[in-house]
């Protein structure tokens, strides 16, 4: 074995040494991409290279370059072509090679004899489909419709073809759907009332901002690729203010950190607005030409809001509020990133509207480097071919009014006499328990882990126990799988064709099949085809889903000229050369000042909002009243995306166990020491966890990061979070959001 660079050492030391040769023949690192002591330089030619796109529910939606050798994913990296991904992924993304080949992965269809018994046995796809199909037919025969069959699916895989799961349900008939989103609905509605859509600036234009307020978002953990734009803005002289109930990693990178009382955001924004109004720093051109109802808003501020009042509610000193408000109003452009955390309250939508108003009145809406940034769906104009499937002839369904089935429902509401029955996704347990005529008897779970993400876990277990059959489509033996009867193994991103876009940046990436599906895994649409085959075998005509599909063909069917023009490509195959960015007329949302509201203007006064049962003006709305001693916050961990990734052994190397974080002063009062085991409990349930004491957390609050550790660790924050609704969300997503951060609990040493 020779090393091109070790001539020095060889000259000096190998002279009298003739024994190294034999050892070099040892079969070292068979499973590695290549030996760390490789004799030759790295060469791309040694690999087949594929394009992938991370389909997780994440701002960053990275474009991935996958290096395959001998049919095995050797390693991955971020696509260099995307200025957003810029060659690097994140701690989660880089764990993908393990996720595919994890020994914990579900390999075959399996049947559990007794829920939570762990008595899993392997069955063939045919047997699994036979059981499922017979159950569906039984429901149909007994109920006269398929409303007893429910689907709960959310953001586990945002690859566009995965909307084939909804398509599969439609192809069976009219069913029950859990609709809405636990994530961001209150803010979506708020932005729709104010501006007529949720539409954010290109995050890459944040470098132009002269003032950046990050309000209830933690990009250092949840959007690592956006941090470079914030840091660049800072380097160019912008001031960065982070507002968060927790001293987050993002806060540590700010110039100023505000730690207000959780859910006081609306008051804080309105207090700033009042001060700006008093100083005469309102952008008159904007509010006169492009806005509706500013004078009414101003009158509300004058009559009901003072800086001192805002200081009293938020805990942020009045002089600070004045200082930042003045600086924000002076800076041009100035922007606020509205995080999803701040709207997970009973007053979340109202708070977002107040922050929107602050950005608008300073003339920062429609400006490059400005904007009230929340999210967007501008790049999502696919055909949704997999989603749109026709019900079988003679299907009977639900009669009555229904709204959209979530924020990604791009169907234009087909006029039919029947429809699906919809339940609030944020009250899954209650929905199952309350379902009548017919009762919900069978549930299909895909791209979702309800036992890790849905609220009031104790109630959810009771609800699941009323179901006659639960089918989970999964990659790992989650708690949801434990509460299922049948599990179907699903492919990872490397094993199927699809396409992905972000709700934050403006890049489009193709997801190629890089390796053959491992074991007996199938993609969601292949599973649908498999089900269709069996359904039609048992009862011809009972399912309209195509029975023989190719994921690549189905990917192609998602594209249209609109997408091609928006991204400036001729054909989807162009994406094999790397991701492309939308050809934006301006990086600013609403740059042409044509708003999507009924008035076509920015609406400080939204009658539409009033029609939906809220205030027409962005008035202050009080948050939820405490129901226990401490506020409980359960935000995202950096090591996972909801319940994904944290369970991997690779991740365990850096994140071994969960912790509760609490303020040392509270701990002293409770006789709790650092690293003690504690019991956190409230009216919903309890959990036991080790505690870390830190002043990053405000006094009288408890912070735990949501995660599913797997490997026998039953840590689950949903044991402590109830399903209290947020104020908004029903308008655009079909169901109100949920007050994830409007929760309370107590703690004691065990």
């Amino acid at each position: 074995m020779s090393h091109t660079s070790s001539s020095l050492s060889r000259r000096q030391f190998l002279k009298g040494l003739s024994v190294a040769g034999a050892a070099s023949l040892l079969p070292l690192r068979l499973l590695m991409p290549y030996s760390a002591q490789a004799a030759t330089a790295f060469s791309e030619k040694d690999f087949q290279i594929f394009r992938n796109a991370c389909p997780r529910n994440c701002y960053d939606t990275c474009s991935i370059k996958t290096y395959v050798k001998d049919g095995i994913v050797q390693f991955i990296e971020g696509a260099q072509e995307s200025t957003f991904t810029a060659g690097g992924l994140c701690v989660k993304g880089y764990a993908y090679p393990r996720r595919v080949y994890s020994p914990d992965r579900i390999k075959y269809p399996m049947v559990q004899d007794g829920r939570r018994s762990g008595n899993w046995r392997r069955v063939s796809w045919d047997e699994a489909m036979d059981r499922i199909s017979r159950k569906i037919l039984e429901l149909k025969e007994q109920d006269g419709n398929l409303l007893g069959l429910g689907l709960t699916k959310y953001s586990g895989n945002f690859g566009i073809t995965n909307y084939g799961v909804e398509g599969m349900m439609s192809s069976l008939g009219y069913t029950t759907r859990f609709v809405g989103t636990p994530c961001w609905p209150a803010g979506i509605d708020a932005q729709n009332y104010d501006m007529g859509d949720m539409w954010c600036n290109d995050p890459e234009d944040m470098v132009k901002s002269r003032y950046v307020i990050i309000w209830g978002a933690n990009p250092a953990w949840c959007s690592v690729h956006t941090m470079k734009y914030i840091m660049e803005a800072k380097r160019r002289g912008a001031k960065v203010v982070v507002i968060d109930p927790v001293f987050t990693q993002t806060a540590a990178k700010a110039d100023v950190f505000w730690q207000p009382e959780a859910s006081s955001d609306g008051a804080l924004a309105l207090g700033m607005a009042r001060h700006i109004l008093d100083l005469g720093m309102v952008d008159q051109d904007f509010v006169n030409a492009n806005a509706l109802g500013f004078e009414e808003f101003a009158a509300y501020l004058r009559e009901n809001v003072t800086v001192e009042w805002a200081a009293g509610l938020s805990g942020i000193p009045a002089e600070q509020i004045r200082e930042v408000a003045e600086e924000f109003a002076t800076a041009d452009p100035a922007t606020i990133w509205i995080g999803y955390g701040m709207q997970r309250h009973t007053n979340g939508g109202a708070s977002v509207r107040s922050v929107d108003a602050l950005v608008a009145m300073t003339g920062n809406v429609g400006k490059e480097g400005g904007g009230a940034r929340y999210g967007h769906l501008r790049t999502w104009g696919f055909n949704y071919h997999a989603l749109i499937q026709k019900q079988p002839e003679g299907s009977v369904g639900f009669i009555g009014a229904t709204g959209p089935k979530g924020e990604f429902d791009f169907t234009k509401g087909e006029a039919a006499s029947y429809s699906d029955r919809t339940f609030n996704i944020n009250k899954t347990a209650q929905g199952i328990l309350d379902a009548k005529d017919p009762a919900l008897r069978m549930l299909w779970v895909s791209c979702k882990n309800p036992f890790a993400q849905d609220f009031d876990r104790p109630k959810l277990e009771k609800a699941f126990d009323t179901l006659e059959m639960v089918v989970s489509v999964e990659q790992f033996f989650t708690e949801t799988v434990a509460n299922s009867d049948i599990v179907l193994p699903v492919t990872t991103l490397f094993e199927e064709w699809t396409v992905n876009v972000s709700y934050w940046h403006y890049w489009l990436g193709i997801n190629e099949q890089a390796i053959k599906p491992m074991y007996e895994t199938k993609s969601n649409i292949e599973i649908a085809a498999e089900l269709s085959k069996k359904m039609n075998e048992l009862a011809p005509g009972s399912c309209t889903f195509p029975q023989d599909i190719d994921t690549k063909d189905w990917l192609e069917k998602e594209f249209n000229q609109g997408i091609y023009d928006y991204f400036g490509i001729k054909h989807w195959t162009d994406l094999k050369n790397g991701p492309v960015k939308a050809k934006l007329a301006s990086t600013a949302a609403w740059h042409d000042m044509t708003f999507g509201t009924p008035s076509g203007k920015y609406e400080f006064r939204s009658d539409l909002c009033a029609e939906h049962g809220h205030e027409a003006l962005p008035k202050y709305k009080e948050g939820r009243k405490p129901y226990d001693e401490f506020r409980l916050l359960t935000p995202h961990t950096q090591f996972g995306l909801h319940s994904q990734f944290v369970n991997l052994d690779w991740m365990h190397e850096y994140n071994k166990e969960p912790f509760l974080y609490m303020h040392p002063d509270d701990a002293r009062e409770k006789n709790i020491r650092d690293l003690d085991m504690v019991r956190v409990f409230n009216k919903v349930g309890e959990l036991r966890v080790k505690v870390k004491l830190t002043r990053n957390v405000a006094p009288k609050s408890l912070v735990m990061y949501e995660a599913w550790f797997g490997r026998g660790n039953d840590f689950n924050v949903q044991n402590l979070v109830d399903d209290e609704a947020a104020d908004m969300g029903a308008y655009k997503t079909g169901a109100p959001g949920v007050a994830i951060h409007g929760q309370f609990a107590n703690v004691e040493r065990v």
Binding site: F13, V19, A23
Partner: protein, 261 residues
């Protein structure tokens, strides 16, 4: 706390005992000629060193490739240690075969033995252990050599040499006890890693076993004036415990990265 490194505990203590026996042989040679059982004595010397080297192989991931450890004599004290220990073993075996070692053979063994102790002292004084990155390991190892050398030599020495060996044994034990008690206390006022090492030693049962054994040996000698046959075995157990604490409890700098040093 790191691993106890049992193979290294055995190697260092046994090799030092063997070297110490040769030193005592020389001392006795100068002091008086007694009718000692030279063949068996050298057999024990060779046996201890052989056992130590054999034990050390278990420390390696690849024991069969141990011979390659001689490759870095230019820089690595571990290579020098292996060489010195190997030469010592060869000389001791030769002396055992000859029925005794005198003159050049004895002097050769003394030089190789001292080189072994010195090389060990340098090998186990790396920069990663600030508490030991000094002459202390060599001092510890020399004390062990003298204590165990005098102890085991008493098995073979004639009556005439016994009081001398008992005096040397006692002196070495007292020195060892003082050094071993003082060192962790001095560390407590040193840098962070030294302080942590001191606390770890003082909190280690192994450390206190070694202290207790040394004190007990002194107590026995106080009463007995000569070294009872069983005492070297007790002393050996104490030395092994002390050495285990040396390897297991001394704190590595890398354990504290991110915290003040």
């Amino acid at each position: 706390m790191q691993s106890m490194e049992l193979p290294l505990v055995l190697f260092t203590v046994l090799s030092q005992a063997a070297v110490g026996m040769v030193l005592m042989s020389a001392v006795r040679g100068f002091a008086c000629h007694d009718g000692s059982d030279a063949r068996n004595e050298w057999m024990l010397v060779a046996g201890l060193m052989g056992l130590g080297i054999a034990a050390s192989l278990f420390h390696l991931g690849h024991p069969l490739e141990a011979y390659r450890a001689l490759a870095h004599l230019e820089k690595a004290w571990l290579s020098r240690e292996v060489l010195a220990a190997g030469i010592f073993l060869a000389l001791a075996a030769w002396a055992a075969a000859m029925g005794g070692g005198k003159g050049a053979l004895l002097w050769g063994a003394i030089v190789a033995g001292l080189a072994t102790v010195l090389a060990s002292g340098m090998t186990y004084a790396p920069p990663a252990f600030p508490a030991l990155n000094n002459a202390l390991p060599t001092v510890f190892f020399l004390i062990t050599a003298v204590v165990m050398g005098a102890g085991f030599a008493s098995w073979f020495a004639g009556i005439g040499s016994q009081p001398l060996l008992a005096r040397i044994f006692t002196t070495a034990l007292v020195t060892g006890l003082v050094v071993r008690l003082a060192v962790p206390c001095i560390w407590l006022s040193g840098s962070e890693i030294m302080r942590q090492s001191g606390l770890a030693w003082l909190g280690s049962p192994l450390y206190w076993v070694s202290i207790a054994v040394m004190a007990a040996c002194l107590g026995v000698l106080w009463k007995n004036r000569t070294i009872p046959v069983w005492l070297p075995i007790l002393a050996l157990l104490g030395e092994l415990a002390g050495r285990a604490a040396f390897f297991a409890e001394t704190v590595h700098t890398a354990l504290n990265i991110g915290s003040p040093y």
